[in-house]
Amino acid sequence: MSLHALADHPFAAPRSLAEACALLAERAARGERTVLLAGGTDWIVEQHLAPAPAADAPLPLVADVSRLAELRGVAERGDAIRIGAGTTFLELRRDPLVTARLPLLAAAARDVGAIQIQARGTLAGNLATGSPAADGVAALGALDAVLELASVRGTRRVPIAAFYTGYRRNVLLPDELIAAVEVVPPAPGSPFAWRKVGTRQAQAISKVALAAVAELDRSEGPGARLTRLGLGMASVAPTVVFLPEVRALGLGRPLASIDDEALAAATLAGISPIDDVRSTASYRRHVAVALVRRFFESLRAPS
C-alpha cells in the first residue's frame, strides 16, 4: 500500500498541448520520468497496488492533461473521424457522431467498467496502459485506427497494429503523447459485433472480448464477399490482437466458401492465451473460436 506516496508526487498542469510537449521534451532530455494523468483509472489503481517506492527513488512528475482542449472532441476530417485522445468513454458513448457512425466504439465504451470509470477513463489512457484486456483497444483495432503521436518534433501517425511491441509496451517515445485517433467509419449500416465475455456485465475485466466490423458486397447474391474486415480481440495474448490470419481468410473470397474449421484454425493462429486469475487458456481458446464463428454466421445470415 503506497497510497501515501501519491500525495508526495510533484505536479504540473500544462495549459496547452504545446506546453505539455515541451515539458515532456525537457524532462525526457534529462532522463526524468513523467506520468501523464488523465482519468487516473489505471495509474492511481497501480499506485494502490504497487509496492512502496524506495525512499531515495525520485517520484515521477505527474502532469495533468485532463483539461487540454486540444485532446478533446470528435470531428469529421475528410473520410475519417478524428477523436481527441483525451475523450472519455462516457463522452464517446453519448457523442452523436460516434453513436451514428462508429456504433462498435459506442458499444465498447458502454461496457468499460461502469459509469464512474467511463466518466474518467480516456482512449489515450486505455491505449497507453496497453492492458491485454483493454476494451477500447480491441474496438479501435477492429476499426484499424491510426494513432496521432505528438511531440515538440511534430506529429507522427502510427497504425494501431504497429503500436504495441509487447506486454504493456509500445512505440511511444519518452517525449511523445497520444494526441488523437483517426478512424475511417464503415459504410452506414455495416455489420459489427461487440462481445465481452466476463463474470459480470459491468465492472468485470473480460475473459475474452471480440470487436469486429465488416463491409459486405452482396451484389453477387449467394457469392457475397467481404470488402472490409476488422477484428480486435482482448485477453487472449500479451497484447490485444487483431487476428490477421482471420482477416486474410475472410477478405475477398465468397463468404459461403469459408468453413468453420478454417475459421477456427485462423483464430487460434492469432492468439496465445494463458491460465490466470480470470480464466484458463483452454476456455479462452474455446470462446475465441466461438465468437469469431458467430460473427461470421451473422454475416452469412440473409439481411
Binding site: D64, A114, Q116
Partner: protein
C-alpha cells in the same frame, strides 16, 4: 497547493497535495465522512461523488483536478432532518442495510434521477452497475430508486 472548488453548493478553498485523492480531501480535509472508502481501486463505488454532475470514484481523482469544479457528496443530497425522496424511499424499501455502499448508491441514483422521468429497472441497474452492495441483493435498491423517481415525477407535474 491551494485550490478553490464548490462542495455541496458552497465555495471552499482548501490546501491540498495536488495528487492527493479527492476521497481523502473530502473525508479528512473537509471532514465530510459520509463518503466511504471501500476498495480504493475504482471497483466498488462506495466513494462515488458527483464531479460537475457526473458520478466518479473519488478514490481515483487527484485533488488538483478538482480546482474550479463542483463536487457533490452524499451530504449534499439531504440531511438527517430532511431526507430527500430518494433517501426516504431507499430506507422504506429496505435498500440500505450495513450502510457502507449506501452513500455511493445514493449519489449514483441521484445522478440518474436528475435526468428526470421514471427510469426502467434496466436503466437503474446500469446506472448503479458501478456500486457494489453485499447486503440487499439490489432489488430493493432498484425498487427504492424507481419509487423515488415516481414521487419526483409527480412532484414535478404538481409544480408545473
Amino acid at each position: 497547493m491551494r485550490i478553490v472548488l464548490t462542495v455541496n453548493g458552497a465555495v471552499r478553498e482548501v490546501d491540498v497535495a495536488p495528487v492527493a485523492r479527492l476521497l481523502d480531501v473530502i473525508r479528512e480535509t473537509l471532514g465530510l465522512t459520509g463518503t466511504k472508502e471501500g476498495c480504493g481501486e475504482g471497483e466498488c463505488g462506495a466513494c462515488t461523488v458527483l464531479l460537475d454532475g457526473t458520478p466518479v470514484n473519488s478514490c481515483l481523482v487527484a485533488a488538483a483536478q478538482c480546482a474550479g469544479r463542483s463536487v457533490v457528496t452524499v451530504e449534499g443530497l439531504g440531511s438527517a432532518e430532511r431526507l430527500s425522496a430518494l433517501q426516504e424511499e431507499l430506507v422504506s424499501h429496505g435498500g440500505a442495510q450495513c450502510g457502507i455502499c449506501t452513500p455511493g448508491v445514493l449519489v449514483s441514483a441521484a445522478a440518474l434521477l436528475s435526468r428526470g422521468g421514471v427510469p426502467t429497472d434496466a436503466e437503474v441497474r446500469e446506472a448503479l452497475a458501478g456500486n457494489i452492495c453485499r447486503c440487499t441483493g439490489y432489488q430493493k435498491i432498484v425498487d427504492g430508486v424507481r419509487a423515488a423517481a415516481v414521487r419526483n415525477a409527480a412532484a414535478a407535474r404538481g409544480a408545473s
